[in-house]
């Protein structure tokens, strides 16, 4: 029995409770016409419905955790389970097969040992399903009846319903904290485990990256976990090459759109830039890997650089820069719009030309905002994954030549976590350590950028 069925039952009963509560509230008007009810009938209805649905939801969540355990206990207690191996993979495999057949997910078993377990599983499932449905109904009816009997003309249903609504609103906004906490705790937990095997000094300052995914987890070679080549690759692709492309193009397009373009052109180009921002990164990555990278290599070979690679940092960086252009452009656009019009008008009134006004007045005044925007762009570029996974190299390489293959932090995270490694292997854990560094760096960049933007806005308001 899936939890969805139980929730549907609860919602159905909730609807019944809602109707019953409303009917009772309406009847107050006819039975005691002199008395003016404290709440409108709809709140009585919601009061009953909430008393039906909320306890049931709590039960369903608890039950969907407990029930599989109970089923397993029952099956293991049955005589058919005596023939099972005591521990290990085989035992789990047999149980899993028998469960799948009993639930109708698989047509038959591969191992004969799993065969006798099917019937106990099927019995246990139907037994606990019945219990689940019965308890759901019981809770729903009990909650509904309790609430229904409390309804009186003078009963403050509205305040109670509204208090619950406020609780739900608060819970919804706590999800954000839980997510942040979840990210932080899981990254820190795995990173600490990794630093138990490889010292942070070796990790942060070592210059050779080449985790041995096949090696024994007990004999770790810390000299293979030096992340400097990755950090350098990430900075070189995301913060240097990409920004050389994105900053001039983004700034110039923002200046053109806000200062020179006539409104008709602006109404067309602005949505086009927004659409460019909506293109998924896997598409940019495909373009980088299939079109740009071979082109760059051929061009490099044609002028005599034979070492050029098809996984060059240049291709990934240029495409990443193109991806970032709309972002830089809209940030620059916002900061220039925040500069007070009086400054611009004053400069024009003194006889400066439009271009002089932009270069000498608008741009310097908007500079802090633009710098903050560029920091946000950098933080987005270094966290970008698909373009570099498809166009950059999986092998780390410490070099300043943009035509050579380079790897980034995100490429390594994907590479280390998409195979079939054990979760305890230092190579797997190192991916979390890389993720933690990435997380902290992007957070720091964003924090500084937001502070700068805030102070800059305040200066003009």
């Amino acid at each position: 029995m899936s939890p969805i069925t139980l929730i549907l039952i609860a919602l159905g009963l909730g609807l019944l409770g809602w109707l019953a509560g409303r009917a009772k509230a309406w009847s107050f008007a006819s039975s005691e016409p002199a008395l003016r009810p404290a709440s409108r009938p709809i709140y009585h209805a919601w009061y009953v419905a909430l008393w039906v649905v909320i306890p049931v939801l709590v039960f369903v969540v608890a039950w969907s955790v407990i029930a599989p355990q109970l089923v397993l206990q029952t099956v293991l207690a049955s005589p058919a389970a005596d023939g099972l191996p005591v521990f290990g993979f085989e035992r789990d495999a047999f149980l899993g097969e028998a469960r799948a057949v009993a639930l109708g997910q698989a047509p038959g078993v591969f191992n004969d040992e799993a065969e006798p377990l099917i019937v106990p599983f099927r019995d246990a499932f139907s037994y606990y399903n019945t219990i689940g449905i019965l308890v759901t109904m019981l809770i729903a009816v009990a909650g509904g009846a309790l609430a229904f009997l409390r309804l009186r003309p003078q009963f403050g249903a509205r305040t109670r319903v509204e208090r619950t609504v406020m609780m739900i609103l608060l819970l919804a906004s706590l999800v954000a904290i839980l997510t942040t906490l979840g990210i932080f705790v899981s990254l820190v937990f795995e990173t600490v485990r990794f630093f138990g095997m490889v010292s942070p000094i070796d990790f942060l300052f070592g210059t050779k990256w080449g985790p041995d995914t096949m090696g024994s987890p007990d004999a770790v070679d810390p000299s293979r976990y030096g992340a400097i080549p990755l950090f350098w690759g990430t900075i070189f692709i995301g913060a240097i090459i990409a920004m050389i492309v994105a900053i001039p193009l983004g700034l110039m397009s923002a200046i053109y759109l806000t200062q020179y373009a006539d409104p008709k052109v602006r109404t067309w180009i602005k949505p086009l830039l927004e659409l460019l921002a909506g293109v998924p990164t896997v598409v940019y990555g495909y373009f980088a890997a299939l079109t740009l990278a071979p082109m760059i290599r051929d061009a490099a070979v044609a002028i005599g650089i034979t070492s050029a690679s098809t996984e060059s940092a240049l291709a990934a960086g240029i495409v990443m820069g193109v991806m970032i252009i709309p972002f830089v452009s809209s940030m620059a656009d916002d900061s220039m719009a925040a500069v007070p019009g009086a400054m611009r008008d004053g400069s024009l009134a003194m006889g400066a030309t439009k271009s002089e006004t932009i270069r000498k007045v608008l741009f310097p005044a908007a500079l802090p905002g633009i710098v903050a925007g560029i920091m946000l762009a950098v933080s987005r570029a270094i966290g970008e994954t698909m373009i570099v996974v498809m166009a950059a190299s999986p092998a780390a390489n410490l070099t300043a030549n943009p035509l050579e293959p380079m790897s980034t932090v995100t490429v390594q995270i994907v590479k280390l976590l998409t195979g079939e490694q054990s979760t305890d292997h230092p190579a797997t854990l190192s991916a979390y350590a890389l993720g933690f560094v990435l997380f902290m760096v992007t957070l720091a960049l964003n924090f500084i950028a937001l502070r700068v933007v805030k102070r800059f806005r305040e200066a003009y308001e």
Partner: protein, 331 residues
């Protein structure tokens, strides 16, 4: 279909193909081509009594030959068949209804598209209510205190965290809690929902801010409670703006690949996923998987899949821009 295979339909197809096209050309008919005929037979059993000619899919080598690529003998064969009029280029509508396969001539995107739809449904069901409710709380009710500050800081941080970090969270938390749901749209949708929620909260707060305070004051003045003010007056006025933000967030989630790589949706899915808990892949992941294939025939398939993805994304973004222009009110 199995009975037809047992009765030797593949051999019959090969025999007639050899008779019509010659041995070398018949060898280049796709090994799965007999399935087309089997489907036609199953739909119309009378076919067996009359003669009928079929256009059958070719192998990828011959298709490449027709494009002027691949080995010279294949190009020559393609040229010969083309001049004889036995080779034609057809609009392959089946691409939209098939799933992943090993041969580029037999692949389709329905499997990935269905996976994307299931994942997006989970994301929408989780992210939209949570996003809208927390936007309402933060903008309308939250007291100015330390807790509110923490909530606001975590939302603006989450909006800036790289998407791959959400993949790490999904791997370390969701997959640790539900190990048997690896590659399932349910886990993918939950991970993407966490990523989409801050986008919805931020756009929702801006939409609520745009509702003029006079409306709140008016409602309060005639005796509405704070909850009634928000749910009867502010929310309906802010909803179009919230929907715009939601559509943009969903479009971003639809194009997202990196977090799903980490939670195991990088798999070969030969049949469309049946439900929220069966292994699935998504459209951008399918593009990524095909772009890694060595066979030249996958280049066109990848491009076609990108076009399908872009059509969806452009429609969603266009709808968001249209909604914004239509409902944007100057108070």
């Amino acid at each position: 279909m199995q009975t037809l295979e047992m009765q030797g339909l593949p051999d019959i197809v090969t025999f007639f193909a050899e008779e019509q096209l010659g041995k070398d050309a018949a060898a280049e008919i796709s090994p799965e081509a007999w399935r087309d005929i089997a489907t036609a037979l199953a739909e119309d059993p009378d076919l067996i009594t009359r003669s009928q000619s079929f256009n059958l899919p070719t192998s990828s080598a011959l298709a490449a030959g027709l494009q002027g690529e691949g080995p010279p003998e294949m190009q020559a064969l393609a040229k010969r068949l083309d001049t004889e009029g036995k080779l034609s280029r057809n609009w392959d509508l089946g691409f939209l209804s098939r799933s992943d396969a090993t041969s580029p001539q037999a692949v389709g995107i329905w499997g990935a598209l269905k996976g994307s739809m299931l994942t997006m449904l989970v994301t929408l069901v989780l992210a939209f209510p949570i996003g809208v409710l927390s936007a309402l709380y933060l903008e309308e009710y939250a007291p100015k205190n330390r807790w509110t500050d923490i909530i606001e800081v975590s939302i603006s941080n989450l909006a800036a965290v790289p998407s791959i970090i959400f993949g790490l969270l999904g791997l370390a938390v969701f997959l640790a809690l539900f190990p048997n749901l690896r590659s399932a749209p349910l886990i993918g949708g939950m991970t993407l929902a966490l990523m989409t929620m801050p986008v919805i909260v931020i756009s929702g707060r801006n939409a609520i801010k745009a509702v003029p305070p006079s409306i709140r004051d008016g409602a309060l003045a005639i005796g509405a409670s704070p909850v009634q003010v928000v749910f009867h007056h502010v929310l309906p006025l802010a909803l179009p703006g919230m929907l715009t933000g939601t559509i943009i967030g969903m479009a971003r989630a639809l194009g997202e690949t990196a977090p799903l790589l980490l939670i195991g949706m990088r798999i070969f899915v030969a049949t469309p996923p049946e439900g929220f808990s069966s292994p699935a892949t998504v459209l951008p992941m399918q593009i990524f998987l095909w772009s890694d294939e060595i066979d030249r025939g996958f280049v066109e398939r990848t491009s076609a899949a990108i076009i399908v993805l872009l059509v969806f994304l452009l429609t969603m973004n266009g709808l968001a821009i249209y909604l914004r222009n239509k409902f944007e009110k100057r108070w």
